[in-house]
């Protein structure tokens, strides 16, 4: 039986703190970077609906592409 992982499996295993994952498995992975372009107002609208939350770990940067 093959036990090695593909690049997607390795990446998502690492981001979700798991040693090994297999196709079809559901994981919660940390997201290191979120890029939002002109659509930020729509994202912010959903963020407001989520209630009184602080922006997560990464914070917001106004870098241009």
């Amino acid at each position: 039986m093959k036990t090695g992982m593909t690049m997607a499996e390795k990446t998502l295993a690492s981001a979700s703190g798991l040693e090994r994952v297999v196709p079809g498995q559901y994981v919660t992975a940390k997201v290191d970077r979120l890029m939002i372009t002109e659509c930020f107002p729509l994202v912010y609208q959903y963020l407001e609906e989520l209630g009184d939350r602080q922006i997560g770990r990464s914070g917001v940067r106004d870098d241009r592409v």
């Binding site: 090695g4 992982m5 499996e9 990446t11 963020l47 592409v65």
Partner: protein, 289 residues
């Protein structure tokens, strides 16, 4: 390095901002071996369009694509980025290239840390495909679907009122250099608009320093600020009813760039340069001899 990127919706974007994580289903992986060598005026864009036309725009639905092989190893980072960015047009959740000496150089030049990253040798794949680039000429996706790819000779003669370099599926600088080289001493055809859209501020400034922008401008190109623009019909000249466009962007769906009565063809920077000079779709191998 060892990172994956994918598109998400507005609500998921808000969730990530609030929580810093997101759920994923681990995708099955399709391995794509790229072998052979690029023919003249063939780029990563052509490989992506070829894959989408040969296997369909849904053959990798929620799968991960892994590109490998002798050609993949010889490709520049921008070429790899173009193919990876086009993975979503085949339905893929992610599209990877393994890291190697080329990646190392790219990272170190930018002051970033590098480490080797690749699949395990005994990894399992749902499917394995082989693409021989030596058999692929410049491609053009006919209007309506990214999977409508044909050899440029089959699309030859279509009127192209406007050509654009979109920032979406490519690094930009390598494409701009190629375009400037091909267009040097030539002029954009009467009645054709050539829009050049640098992929980033860094690319824009480097292109200015190298004289690339000057050459493009001298050929009659309109150079826009970097960022999203014509590819999604955002600004900088929406397509009018009846207009035809050769775009180097990712998508050619009806109405994508303006009027639903406009026609959007997709191609590489070389195909776009040939279209700009001729005012219609032509084979770059014949235009730039």
């Amino acid at each position: 390095m060892g990172s994956a990127g994918c598109g998400i919706g507005f609500s998921e974007g808000a969730w990530v901002l609030a929580v810093g994580s997101l759920w994923f289903r681990i995708p099955e992986t399709i391995k794509v071996e790229l072998k052979g060598a690029f023919l003249p005026y063939v780029t990563g864009k052509d490989i992506a369009l070829y894959l989408a036309s040969k296997y369909g725009t849904d053959f990798a639905n929620y799968k991960s694509l892994e590109f490998c092989g002798e050609l993949a190893a010889s490709m520049s980072i921008p070429q790899r980025m173009t193919i990876s960015n086009m993975g979503v047009e085949m339905g893929a959740k992610f599209a990877f290239f393994p890291s190697d000496e080329t990646t190392k150089e790219f990272y170190l030049e930018r002051g970033m840390e590098w480490e080797f990253f690749a699949a395990d040798e005994d990894a399992s794949y749902e499917k394995e495909l082989t693409v021989n680039a030596s058999e692929i000429g410049p491609q053009v996706a006919l209007p309506g679907d990214v999977g409508n790819g044909v050899d440029v000779r089959e699309a030859r003669g279509s009127e192209s009122i406007r050509s654009s370099w979109g920032p979406v599926s490519m690094d930009g600088l390598e494409d701009l250099r190629l375009a400037a080289k091909l267009l040097e001493g030539k002029r954009v055809a009467q009645g054709t608009r050539l829009l050049v859209n640098p992929a980033s501020e860094d690319v824009y400034r480097q292109a200015l320093r190298e004289g690339v922008i000057e050459k493009l401008s001298a050929a009659g190109a309109i150079v826009s600020p970097s960022g999203c623009g014509p590819c999604l019909g955002g600004h900088l000249g929406l397509l009018a009813p009846g207009e035809n466009c050769l775009s180097t962007g990712n998508r050619n769906f009806m109405g994508r760039m303006g009027s639903p009565k406009a026609n959007i063809y997709l191609g590489s920077p070389a195909v776009a340069a040939a279209a700009a000079v001729c005012g219609k779709i032509e084979d770059p191998r014949e235009v730039f001899v």
